[in-house]
């Protein structure tokens, strides 16, 4: 039914590509407004304590400065914690900017300087004198872990570790082969290209139109409305384009609060943009200490899995993500014990970062599995096949689909895995040791209730809309494809509108759920339009479709035709005329199937293969080849989907080798807060990346069989690289990123 034009499943260019490369696409800080004022945030220098005085006189004396907002003169905002909770907030009491004199983390916003010009605000901000009384802070997880606790209140949407099964401890003791190690992945910051920014346009009568950098326009809207006590009709958030976010835009950030507060106080439009160093003053991927114990027989079959994680959170919220559950999800085992704890440190609350939990949890388990492969002398793929599971054992459910076997097989073939000599240090090319490693990737296939509207007009144009976002993933394009195919119109005749809080309800874009969720909503809305259109077509005088049922017709090229007799057709325009309408509109919701989720678990899977070359003398690592074979159900657009995997792999290379936010524990502060010193991969770091989409029939999660591809590309990549480095050098580094210092040790 979907294949009328056959856009789905066929590589399509981004419909917003031209706007992006020509600069026509507008981002949060690019929207203009008459009489716009500019705000610059002043960040705290200490990690914990109290502000004893703020002297803004020098700042206020700078010509052009309008106001300096601090906790002393901020406006009244909502009283209750819950008013500050956004859609993705973990349990706890959300951070409130400028709330009182308490400093609770380094880099906390302590003042907002507003001026007529950006430069004036920046200058004045440097003149605000703040005195502090410092208190002892704690940012070191190795000290905080002693007080680690299992989060008493669960974060919605985050599965807690399943209860233990069998007797993992005893089985471990009995197991002939044991692996027991600690694994770490460094703190990462998202570092999207576009910094966080909010342009708040103050309209006559106090209505606000806000251009916010966000992954959820409605999330920002409801936050603003509830915090500032505004009617939601008076707040519209419009964020059509997002310059990358990777999770950093899931929660309304402090620049939004500050910009709105200033706009309401000054009754004036205002823009607040964070500087690059301020991009290190809110959420991050938390540091996690993972301990894994694997017990196995000489045949490699797992007899015990224990996976414990301790992860940082802030003192005010219990951030949570799924770190440990993946171990048993991937591998069959009867004795399993998984624990997940939090340790409070004096930093901002962590925030989901691309494949939260899985990116680090799977890195650990897949490194440990490689160690088990060596301990048992079994090929890493063979080891995984011997422990393969066809069920989600913790939840006693089957999978909606799982082509992981095919990922291993097809990926291995493409990579040339069969030629691998498992012996470490066995391959060499000149000065370089060559290593091949592999790992499994997994990510949950999630669908969220989402609404969409479709409007077909007599000129044959179709507009579909939903409040979801496109954080660079290609949402505009896939929604256009789905709409075009469902109604049999050309992609050129479809306009997709998203990123606007006034559009039909959608959750934030995250979790790789948007294609499945917004995609299904658009499809459903278009189907309703289709049915209405067909009804009108049949009503037409002498309609050639009068006796046809909807199953017997095809929608193509702006016409409804009898599938068996394409010469009998009614144009959309004729049908609408017959119905006496000039537009057909439908708004529909798509929701995950309860039946499916009760009986099945839905996950996407991948097999990642890496080739590294390590200079033997100097420890310089090059990742010369990655093959990533992904099974993620229906691939709507192989071109944008491939880009997602490529980006995910690059993220994984960063995690494996480069990314690390360095905390100075004496100061309680992230120190390498620039893109010169926080390293993400650059072009020279990237060689061949080969993405394969393994065909996977998925018919349970949603009608299109979509699982999503935004995150799966990250998962497993770092472990594959770490394992390849072991194969090359014989050195097992369990502390990512694997930098020169660790390799030379």
């Amino acid at each position: 039914m979907l294949q009328a034009n056959g856009y789905i499943g066929v590589p399509q260019n981004r419909v917003d590509g031209r706007a992006k490369v020509t600069g026509a696409a507008q981002y949060a800080a690019e929207f203009d407004a008459p009489n716009l004022a500019y705000g610059i945030v002043v960040s705290s220098a200490i990690a914990k304590g109290r502000i004893t005085s703020i002297d803004a006189s020098a700042a206020l004396a700078v010509p052009g400065v309008i106001q300096v907002f601090t906790h002393e003169n901020r406006s009244r905002t909502a009283w209750f914690d819950r008013s500050y909770r956004d859609e993705t907030a973990p349990p706890g009491s959300p951070f409130r900017p400028l709330y009182d004199d308490a400093v609770v983390y380094s880099g906390q916003p302590v003042a907002l300087v507003v001026a007529e010009e950006y430069e004036i605000a920046a200058c004045a901000a440097s003149l605000v004198q703040i005195e502090y009384e410092t208190d002892t802070h704690l940012t070191d997880i190795d000290l905080a872990k002693n007080e680690a606790y299992a989060p008493p209140r669960k974060r919605s949407g985050v599965k807690e570790p399943p209860s233990p099964r069998g007797d993992a401890e005893e089985a471990f003791v009995q197991a002939p082969v044991k692996i027991h190690h600690e694994y770490r992945v460094a703190i990462e910051h998202h570092n999207p290209m576009e910094p966080h920014a909010s342009t708040v346009i103050y309209q006559e009568g106090g209505k606000l139109v806000i251009h916010d950098k966000t992954q959820g326009a409605q999330n920002s809207q409801s936050y603003v409305a509830s915090v500032f006590g505004l009617s939601s009709d008076d707040v519209q958030v419009v964020a059509p384009f997002v310059g990358g976010a990777f999770g950093s835009g899931l929660r309304p950030q402090y620049q939004l609060f500050l910009a709105v507060m200033a706009a309401l106080e000054l009754k004036r439009s205002i823009r607040v943009v964070l500087t690059r160093d301020q991009m290190f003053t809110f959420g991050y991927r938390p540091l996690t200490i993972q301990t894994i114990s694997l017990g196995a027989g000489p045949d490699g079959k797992l007899q015990s899995i224990m996976h414990d994680a301790i992860q940082t959170t802030s003192p005010w919220e219990d951030y949570q993500e799924v770190v440990v559950n993946w171990s048993n999800l991937l591998y069959h085992c009867d004795n399993v014990k998984l624990t997940y704890k939090l340790a409070q440190v004096d930093t901002y609350t962590p925030i989901d970062m691309r494949a939260p939990g899985a990116a680090i949890g799977v890195t650990a388990i897949e490194t440990a599995m490689d160690e088990l492969a060596y301990a048992t002398g079994i090929d890493p793929i063979e080891l995984r096949l011997r422990n393969y599971t066809e069920t989600d054992e913790a939840n006693k459910k089957g999978f909606t689909s799982k082509e992981l076997r095919a990922c291993y097989q097809i990926g291995a073939e493409r990579f040339g895995w069969s030629k691998r000599n498992p012996e470490p240090r066995s391959m060499r090319d000149g000065r370089e040791l060559v290593g091949w490693g592999m790992a499994t990737g997994v990510w949950e296939a999630i669908m969220q209730k989402t609404a969409a509207r479709a409007v077909l007009t007599q000129d044959g144009k179709l507009e579909v809309s939903s409040a979801t976002a496109d954080i660079g993933t290609g949402t505009y394009t896939i929604l256009t494809q789905i709409a075009a195919d469902t109604l049999g119109v050309n992609m050129e005749d479809v306009t997709a509108r998203i990123g606007d809080s006034s559009l039909p309800k959608s959750p934030v874009q995250g979790g790789s759920w948007t294609a499945a969720s917004a995609g299904s909503a658009v499809q459903t809305a278009c189907q309703t339009v289709r049915e209405k259109l067909f009804k009108y077509a049949r009503q037409m005088d002498d309609s050639p479709l009068a006796n046809a049922s909807i199953e017997q017709v095809t929608f193509a090229n702006g016409k409804i035709l009898l599938t068996n007799d394409p010469s009998s057709s009614v144009t959309f325009a004729q049908a609408m005329q017959a119905g006496g309408v000039d537009r057909i509109e439908a708004e529909e919701k798509a929701s995950p199937s309860l039946q499916t989720s009760m009986s099945y678990s839905g996950y996407s899977h991948s097999a990642v293969f890496a080739e590294v070359r390590v200079d033997e003398g100097l420890g310089i690592v090059r990742v010369t080849r990655i093959v990533n074979a992904v099974a993620a159900g229906t691939i709507l657009n192989p071109k944008t989907a491939r880009s997602q995997i490529l980006g995910g792999v690059v993220f994984g290379i960063g995690m494996a080798l480069e990314e690390e936010s360095m905390l100075d524990h004496n100061l309680g502060r992230f120190m390498n807060h620039s893109l010169a010193e926080y390293h993400v991969p650059v072009n020279a770091d990237i060689y061949d990346i080969d993405v394969i989409f393994v065909s996977e029939h998925e018919d349970k999660l949603n009608p299109m069989g979509v699982k999503g591809v935004g995150e799966i590309g990250v998962v497993g990549t770092a472990a594959a690289i770490g394992n390849a480095i072991y194969h090359a050098t014989g050195k097992r580094i369990r502390d990512y990123p694997i930098t020169i210092d660790k390799l030379l040790k």
Binding site: S106, G619, D664, L667, H673, E677, T739, I740, D741, L744
Partner: protein, 338 residues
Amino acid sequence: MNRFSYVRAESIDEAVREVVTDPTARFIAGGTNLIDLMKYNVERPERLIDITRLPLNEIEETDGGGLRVGALVTNDAAAHDPRIQARYPLLSSAIMAGASPQLRNAATTGGNLLQRTRCYYFYDSGTPCNKREPGTGCPASFGRNRIHAILGTSNHCIATHPSDMCVALAALEAVVHVAGPDGTRAISMADFHRLPGDTPEIDTNLRHGEMILAVELPPADFGTNYTYLKLRDRLSYAFALVSVAAALRIDGRTIAEARLALGGVAHKPWRDSEAENMLRGQAASAERFADVADYILRDAKAFDDNAFKIDLARRAIVTALSQAAAGTPQSQTDKRIQ
């Protein structure tokens, strides 16, 4: 950022006068370092004297058979100049190892000499730092210091000089020509940058208001046996953890002359003439190179995070000398170590 005024200098004399008479004034060339530092409130000049229109962008032959590279010659132009490529390929290679094409297009020879350390704390005006605010302390010494110095540090500062170009200039024994209120003078590369001592706020021996006119490259015969080996945390666009500029003149089977300078390890490009003497008259051999490396690093001192740099520097010196001896200089595009 602070408020500042801006003047475009019409002549060298005028530029020097403007700055000498005003302690808050600074020259600005490519601006790739100064503007960043201003945005971070590390530098707060009240007057910027733009020197980019001054006639200092030529590369000229000197009477002695060397080259004189004007202070405003961009890093890109210097690296791609055919005379530099042919006669001083070490310099060309070192420049190409640094920054990015965009930065090299804007960065100038003079500005590169005066770029400031990349110490995290120096860049963060929310933290103490003796170099930025004398007397406030050096948090790097007991904080995050994996990128910091292992040679020539003091209790007051353990920062490194981040330039690649300067490491090659040190090896090539370049001379910096400067103009001041009392005329011009020449400063050898060895004397140009300083060790931090107890005045880490002073990076170089240039006086306030003195302007760099040119860098003179003395005649040299290091066109074959040279290398610039830069080791860093990613394959491009990162400052050196350790870099080595090596240039040898080989006579038959023995080393007739050796130049060796290290980057990323000290507050200035690090040269050790004793170590260079150890190579003179010797045949190229890995053992000899290892001895030389040990000698250079004899007083190396590590801090919490940077002990690996001592080992890395040792290995880098041996590798670089081997590359130079073999006449297989490190490529700056192929990231494989040669």
